[in-house]
Every structure is written in structure tokens, then in C-alpha cells.
Amino acid sequence: MTPPLRRQTTNYRLARNSEFCDPLGRKYWTIQGSSLDTRCDHLATFCDPPGQNPGETLGSLAPRPPGAILKDVIEVNGLGKKYGSRWILRDLTFSLSAGDCLIVTGKNGAGKSTLLKVLSGLERPTAGTVKTETTNYRTELSYCALEQATFANLTVAEHLELAAKIRGIETDDKKTILECGLEEHKDVQSQYLSSGLRSRLKIALAIQSRPKILLWDEPGVALDGAGKVLIERVIGEQKQRGLLVIATNDPDERRFGTHEIELA
């Protein structure tokens, strides 16, 4: 069943310069007076009417009272990311809570994948803050990246075994393998898998820990019809468990979103 849509499309515009966040400065490493690690294991929320002042800021997606403490929240506040002299993301502000599915759209090079990398902690923001309410990012946040590779010489089952051990969790890998349609290929090395099966392996790795936050870059790439069904099921389950942020331009995937932003 298709989830009810409460889509809100907001045109993201390049906005006013955010204050530069110097990595060597105290402000980069602290937030609201508390020590902050690179994953920003924090919480927060805020509001800002969407799109009222074009050119100023991106509207919040879920207006809430300032300072309210919510469960399973991502808060992005004045986020900017610059590569060289080019701003990829600028003054991006929104917040998400449990059950939300944010669809990030935009043309190639707009910054969809960059946004997911920043949210996952793989890239540090040039400006602004990202806060997630997670106590253990290794198990509660998963990022299924388009360009992430798998270990060529490890089998499907060994990938899941390795991931469980380094995450420090005990999981039912047989169930995960079954869910992702990899039972026939569990003893095959990653280098001999097709790109579709490798995508399924990446999905298996992402959902293995049953994360609160799932970041997903172009879910449907290389997947067949059964793979699309898998995506739908994973998205449905993730909405029950936490929230998703999906970077895609595929209309079939956009329909799962509860919110949508377009990067320009």
C-alpha cells in the first residue's frame, strides 16, 4: 500500500553566505557548549517557513517548536559544503523525525550525494551543523551509497559477518540474506556478482543493523523488478523503524517520500 503523501516541494536556492566554520576553531568542534564528535550525536529541531524568502533559506520540512527534544531526528541547520571555491550546498535547513522519508532530487552535480555524505558524517560541512539523535552511529545510521564498493575477494556471507563484528552487534544474517534475495549467492565472492546483486548486497549491509536512520543514494540503480519490490519493502519497514533520506530522480521512488526537496 502506498503511504499517504504529504509532499512538500521546496526550491532550494543559493542563499546568503553562511558563516565560515573553521575546522581549527573551537566552534567547529563544539555545539551549544558541549563537546561534539564528528558524527554529531545530538538532537534538535527548529522551524522556518518554507520558501517565504526566496534566496534566503530553505524552509524547514517539519516545523516544530524551537528547542523541542524529539526522537530519531536529523536536524540540518544552515548547512553548506564547498569543494574548492564552488559551493555545492549552501544554507540548507530542515529537520526530520521518525516516519519521515525525505526525497532529495536535483540535476546531476546538484549535490544530492554530497548531502547524504554530509548527513552520514563521511564529509564534514563547510558551514552549518548536522545533528542526529543517535547513541551509536555505527548501528543506528546506515548509508547505502551509490559509489561505495564491496570487497572483491569476500563472499556475500563474509561481508555481513564482517559488518556485524565491526559494528559489535549480533544479527540474523540468514534472514537478511533471504530478505535481499541473496540466498543463492551467499558464498559467491563480490567480484563475481552482477551489479544488481552487488546493489542487493549493499542494501543487506545497510539494513543489517536495523538502523534508525537510513540514507540511500539512487536506490533503484541496477536493480530488476524484484529489486524494486525489495526497495518498496525496505522503505516501508524503515518508515516504521525510523526515517529515510533518499537521493533520487526516479518518479517511482519519489512516490515513497513524505517530504521532498529539490537541489538546484
Binding site: T38, R39, S120, G121, L122, E123, R138, L141, S142, Y143, A145, E147, Q148, A149, T150, F151, A152, N153, L154, E158, E161, L162, A163, K165, I166, R167, G168, Q189, L205
Partner: protein, 226 residues
Amino acid sequence: MKSNWHSWQTEIYAVFQKEWRSESRSLSGIMTTALLCLVSVVIVNSITWTTSINPMIASGMYWMILVFSASISLPRTFLQEEDSRTADFWRLMARPEAVYWGKALFNIAQMLLATTLMSIAFLVIVKVHVENVGLFIAMAFAGAVSIASTVTLAGAIASPASSRYALSTAISAPLLIFLINLGVTGTATSLGEFLKSGENGAIGMIAYAFATCSIGPVVYSKIWKG
């Protein structure tokens, strides 16, 4: 709930096991090291075929072969992750210290194996007589551990850089010069050269390995991108 110590053990062993599995299936690292060692030993033998080689020269050649073989093959454990775009796998799921320790232990194991094979080949092919077998073995063991830990540290530091292979060599070169000096002195003593500080070489190398193994995880966690 797993204890913290058990959790660390599990994570470090998982990284080590991953490296071992990958290496046992591709054999790329150990083959690179073994081939470099063998070719170097054969070259040394062909150069010194008609002349007797004194302990100091033999020791110098022995350590040059070990160091250059190690500095080419060992940093790959870190550098290759960036090339094959699997580094994010670790950054998303693992603790940097566990990744460092797992890879460092694998490199030490690989270097011990390579050193054993290279030492046998060196003694047999070059026909060097060992006066003090115990010291020779101690130097080889200490050398393998200290070289592996030093080169691992250099690889870990260089891994986020764009020109990581060149940087890794540039970082490891000055660190290894001190080790070569200790190693040459100790091994020359074991081969019959009378040097007062010979035995201290093994102790110095173990101390060096201890230092690099101690600071390695700390440095790596500071440059960890995740």
C-alpha cells in the same frame, strides 16, 4: 552485553580476518614481497659470486632488501582501500583504532612470514655464515615487527591524500633510516662483525616497534574522515 575488551578483540580480529581472507585469495601482497625479496637476493648473489662478502656489507644488503620490499607491499592494506573505494565501509561501521590494529597485526604477520622466507633464501643463496644464530633471529624478528609497524603508520597517514603512494614512501623513508642503522649494526654483529652496540640493535628495534604501534592508532583516529 559484550564487555568493552571483548568488543575490541572481536572488531580487531574481524579486520585481521578480512585482510587474511582477501590476501589468501589474491596473494597480491605476499607475492609482491616474496618476489622482490627473491629477485634482490639473486641480484646480490650474482654481484658477489666471485668475492667473499664481509658481514657489514651482507648485513646492509639484507636490510635494504627487507626495507624496500616492505615499503612497497605493506602500505597497500590502507592505500588500496581508498583506490577500490571500500574505505567508506570502515568509516561508516568501524572504529578507527580497531581498523588500524587489525591491519597493523596483519602487516606484522605478513612481514614475519616474508622475513623468514627472505632470511632463509639470503643465507642459502648468498652463503653467509651466521656466528650468532640467536641474535640473527632476534634481529630478524624485531626488524620484521618494527618495519611493519612503521610502514603501516606511514600508509595510514598517507591514505586520505590524493597522491597517497608517493606520500607514503616519503613519510616512511626518514622513519626507516634509523631502523636500518639499528638493523645493520645488530645483524652485522650476528654475522661476525665485532660491534659493541650489536645486541642493543634488537632492543632498540623492539622499542621502536612499541612506539609506532602505540602512536599509530592515535594518529589514525585523528585523520579518520568519518
